[in-house]
C-alpha cells in the first residue's frame, strides 16, 4: 500500500509568536494544509500529534490538539519524541487499512520556556547526572569534541555548516535566522562550551506544522517511499552513549532501506540542533564516498553540490522548533520536491539535542 502526502501547512518560524496561543498557531497551519490538499476536515479519519509534555508545560497534549486541526471526535493519539515519529506512526496507521486520511501535527512554543536548560536537565538521570547540573551545551560539546577527534574534522568545519545553512535559509520565507554570514563571523561569537561557539547552536523558535497523509493516489503530491526509526539506545545517565556518533541514524536508515531499492537521494534534510549534529548524522549515514569533512569543504553539501544538505536552511537557518523539527524538515522537503528541481530526498531528525535516538523518512515525486 502506497502512502502519500496530500498537503502541508506551516506558519513561519519566529523567535516568538507574541499574543498567539499554540492552538491558534496550529489552526493557521492546519488551514493551509487543508487548502494545499484540497480537502476538508470531514475527509480526515484521525489525528496524530507530536508532543513532549516536558516542553509544553501541559500534559496530555493529544487532548489539547484535535479541535483546532479539524479532528474533533475523531481518532487521535499522541506520539512522543521528535515529530518524525508521529509522522511514521501516521503512516503505519494508514497501512493498517482502517484509515484513508491521517493528519499529523507538531508545534513548538520555545518562547514559553523560561528555563530551557533546566527543563532539559530534568530529562537526565536524577541521581547520577542532575546533581552535577550540566548545561545541554556542555553535553553537546562532549559529543562535538569526540566527533571532531574521531572524524578528523576541525572546528572550522562546524562553522562551514552554519554558513551553508544560514545562506540556504535566505531563499526560505519560513526561516527566522537566514543570513549571509562568514566563517570569521561565526568564529567571532562567544565560546559556550569548547569547541562549541554560540554561532554553532540552532536558536530555539516558535513554529507549527500540519501534514495530511493519505492512501488515495489521486490526492497524493509526494510519495512516502520508506521510513525507519531507532529508539532504545539512549541512556539517561549517558553511561552507554557512543560519544561523537549518531548510531540511531544508521539504524533508522537501515530499517528504511528494507522498504525501498533507492540508495541515492537528490538532497537531504537533517535536523541539526548544533552544527556538529548535521555532520554526525552524515557520518553515520555513510552516503558520501569521501569523508564528511572533505565533502563539506569541497562544497559537496552546498545547494548546488552533488548532495545538498539542508537546502531549506536547516534548524540553524530556520530556528530549532524542539520536537517539531522533524515535521519542519518534512514540510521543507515537500516544498522543495514540488519545485521540480529534485525527485527524491531523505529526512532525518534526532529525538532531541543530545539523545541517541531518531527517525528517517524517504520521500519522492514521480516524474
Amino acid at each position: 500500500m502506497d502512502i502519500w502526502i496530500a498537503g502541508v501547512g506551516e506558519i513561519p518560524c519566529k523567535p516568538s509568536y507574541d499574543g498567539m496561543d499554540f492552538r491558534e498557531m496550529l489552526y493557521n497551519a492546519a488551514v493551509k494544509a487543508y487548502f494545499d490538499a484540497g480537502i476538508t476536515p470531514a475527509d480526515v479519519d484521525g489525528v496524530v500529534s507530536s508532543g513532549m509534555d516536558f516542553y509544553e508545560g501541559v500534559s496530555i497534549t493529544d487532548s489539547y490538539t484535535p479541535d483546532q486541526v479539524g479532528g474533533r471526535l475523531k481518532f487521535n493519539t499522541l506520539v512522543s519524541n521528535d515529530a518524525l515519529n508521529a509522522f511514521i506512526h501516521g503512516c503505519m496507521l494508514l497501512k493498517t487499512g482502517h484509515f484513508r486520511t491521517i493528519l499529523v501535527t507538531a508545534y513548538a512554543r520555545a518562547s514559553n520556556i523560561l528555563n530551557y536548560p533546566e527543563i532539559v536537565l530534568n530529562s537526565f538521570d536524577p541521581y547520577v547526572i542532575r546533581p552535577l547540573t550540566p548545561h545541554l551545551y556542555t553535553v553537546a560539546a562532549l559529543d562535538a569534541r569526540a566527533f571532531l577527534i574521531n572524524s578528523g574534522c576541525e572546528v572550522r568545519d562546524l562553522s562551514l555548516v552554519v554558513v551553508k545553512n544560514k545562506r540556504n535559509a535566505l531563499r526560505n520565507p519560513s526561516a527566522a535566522f537566514a543570513e549571509n554570514t562568514s566563517v570569521e563571523e561565526v568564529e567571532s561569537t562567544e565560546v559556550v562550551s569548547e569547541p562549541l561557539r554560540r554561532g554553532h547552536v540552532a536558536v530555539p523558535c516558535d513554529y507549527a506544522a500540519v501534514i495530511l497523509l493519505t492512501t488515495e493516489k489521486g490526492l497524493g503530491k509526494v510519495r512516502v517511499e520508506a521510513f525507519g526509526y531507532a529508539v532504545g539506545s539512549h541512556s539517561l545517565d549517558f553511561s552507554l552513549k557512543a560519544w561523537g556518533q549518531s548510531r540511531w541514524a544508521r539504524a533508522a536508515i537501515d530499517m528504511a532501506f528494507k522498504q525501498t531499492r533507492r540508495r541515492r537521494f537528490d538532497f537531504l534534510e537533517i535536523s541539526e540542533p548544533f552544527a556538529h549534529s548535521e555532520l554526525m548524522v552524515l557520518d553515520a549515514l555513510g552516503l558520501v564516498r569521501e569523508s564528511v569533512c572533505k565533502t563539506l569543504r569541497d562544497g559537496g553539501f552546498n545547494i548546488d553540490g552533488h548532495l545538498p544538505v539542508n537546502p531549506s536552511g536547516g534548524c540553524i537557518g530556520m530556528g530549532y522548533p524542539l520536537n517539531a523539527a522533524g515535521l519542519q524538515r518534512l514540510v521543507q522537503s515537500v516544498n522543495l520536491l514540488r519545485t521540480g528541481r529534485w525527485e527524491s530526498c531523505l529526512v532525518a531528525s534526532p529525538d532531541g539535542e543530545v539523545v541517541d535516538g531518531g527517525a528517517a523518512v524517504m520521500l519522492s515525486v514521480e516524474v
Binding site: T138, V139, A141, A146, I149, V192, L240
Partner: protein, 135 residues
Amino acid sequence: MSIESFYEYPAGVALSRFLEGLRLGRLIASKCSACNHMIIPPRAYCLKCYRPIKEYQIIGEEGRIVTYTRSLINIEGKPANPPVTWVFVKFEGVDGGLLHVLDSTINPQIGMRVRPVFREQRIGSILDIKWFTAV
C-alpha cells in the same frame, strides 16, 4: 503563574549500592554472574543476558577520559566563572562510565588517566566525588 511540583524517586536496589559505595569512597559496578558483564553505574539486571544481578564489585579507581569540554556557561545560562572542565570517564574492563568535572588545574586530553577525588564529608551522592584528577 507557577506551580511547584515535588517528587521523590527511590534510587532502586542497584543504584543504592552505587551511592552507598560513593559514601564509603568507592566506585561500585554490577557484575553478571552468568556472563561476567560489568557496568557502572550498576544495574539490577544484566544488559547483555537479562539475568538478575546478584554481584556488586568495587572497581579500580583509575579510568580514562573519553571526551571533555571546558564550559563557559552554567545551567542558568549565565557565564560559568571560573569555567568548568567536564569529562566522561570509562574504566578498564567495565562497560558504562561516569560524567563528572575535572580538577580545574588539569589540562585534559582524550585517553588521559584520571581518578576520582572524594570529599571528606560524604552523604551518598555523585557529588561525594569532588572531581576527577590526573593519576
